[in-house]
């Protein structure tokens, strides 16, 4: 696709942000694609409220070469066929009756996208997981679709990518929760249900509108910036305490760095990554 006009827009809700974008670009909803950058949250009594941020771009349906890596926009997946569709948000006015749940059957389960480590077993488990997760979301009264994609560059090494069940839809901030609490519970339960139903042990990841992928990318950038500082002044820096999966992202980001090394220190909730100059 040829991107003609694009921009980032803010609003109280995702819908509001999209509307602002449509107005600014003078286009209609059908002519654009929307990427949700931040869901936004209402905060508590207006404190800590965060605007929703979306990127709106107009497009023409002509195929284009994958962009080279040196692009401002974080390119989460180098394989365009894998990340089949960017999360498409369909703004809906709250007063209208909700349309038939067409989102749920839009996408036939994607075939295993991995040539490298595309274990048939992993793929089958992910399909089953998707099915169970869709059922779970329906029981929770949420309208969303689930796509199966691969982990992004920031999340895993090329030869070690897990499949991701990415929940796509609007207003799914509730599924992330405070400090990922809800997303973690959702992932935990979905994996357990899948293990029980397939009688195997499976390791897929559950994500909401690419939240984990985006978080991984910003963590990776932060790690690289801090590594730069360490390389310059030769002093060790400690990052904030983080859960294991996030520490792993930092280790991964700096594993091939020429002048710094990483090490986790501390116990339990206080465990954090330190970035130190390489000796010699």
């Amino acid at each position: 696709m040829t991107v003609e006009k694009s921009g980032e827009f803010r609003g109280k809700t995702v819908e509001a942000a999209i509307s602002a974008g449509l107005l600014a670009l003078k286009v209609s909803r059908e002519e654009v694609d929307v990427e949700i950058i931040r869901q936004g949250s209402r905060g508590v009594l207006g404190i800590g409220a965060e605007d929703a941020v979306v990127r709106v771009f107009t497009l023409r349906a002509t195929p284009v070469e994958p962009q080279p890596a040196a692009k401002a926009e974080p390119k989460l997946d180098p394989e365009p066929t894998v990340r089949a569709a960017a999360p498409k948000a369909e703004p809906r006015s709250a007063s209208q009756p909700r349309p038939a749940p067409k989102q749920n059957d839009v996408k036939a389960p994607l075939a295993a996208p991995t040539p490298a480590n595309g274990d048939a077993k992993d793929s089958a488990a992910a399909q089953k997981g998707r099915e169970l997760l869709l059922g779970l979301l329906e029981q929770m009264g949420l309208r969303a679709n689930v796509e199966i994609i691969q982990q992004s560059d920031a999340e895993a090494n090329a030869d070690d990518r897990a499949l991701v069940l990415n929940i796509v839809g609007e207003d799914l901030g509730v599924l992330i929760g405070r400090q990922n609490e809800t997303l973690a519970a959702l992932e935990f339960i979905t994996r357990l249900m899948t293990n029980q139903q397939t009688h195997s042990r499976t390791g897929f990841v559950v994500d909401v509108n690419g939240y984990r992928a985006k978080r991984a990318e910003s963590l990776r950038r932060l790690a690289l910036r801090m590594a730069e500082q360490v390389a310059q002044n030769g002093r060790t820096i400690a990052m904030e305490p983080m859960p294991p999966a996030e520490r792993r992202i930092v280790h991964l980001a700096l594993q091939d760095h020429p002048t710094v090394a990483t090490q986790s220190v501390g116990e339990g909730d206080r465990r954090k990554v330190t970035i130190l100059p390489k000796k010699g």
Partner: protein, 75 residues
């Protein structure tokens, strides 16, 4: 009630004996109590190590019911 169905759905998918899963719902003045019953052999599967499964269920329940208080008991 949808929260009852939510718990029933997940519990059935987690146990060896889905037929033995039932959820009893009691409405109090400000609280709804959900009592999850499973086969004795399946207790561990719905509670989990250190109650991890039960707590994850409670977390999902909170999202589903929004502002009402719901208590999940496993008996």
């Amino acid at each position: 009630m949808k929260e009852r169905e939510l718990i029933e759905y997940v519990a059935r998918m987690l146990v060896e004996n889905p037929d033995k899963v039932s959820v009893k719902e009691t409405h109090g003045a400000s609280v709804t109590v959900l009592e999850l019953h499973v086969d004795r052999e399946d207790m561990g599967r719905v509670i989990g190590k250190d109650g991890r499964v039960a707590n994850a269920l409670r977390t999902l329940l909170r999202v589903a019911v929004q502002d009402r208080r719901v208590v999940l008991e496993i008996v």
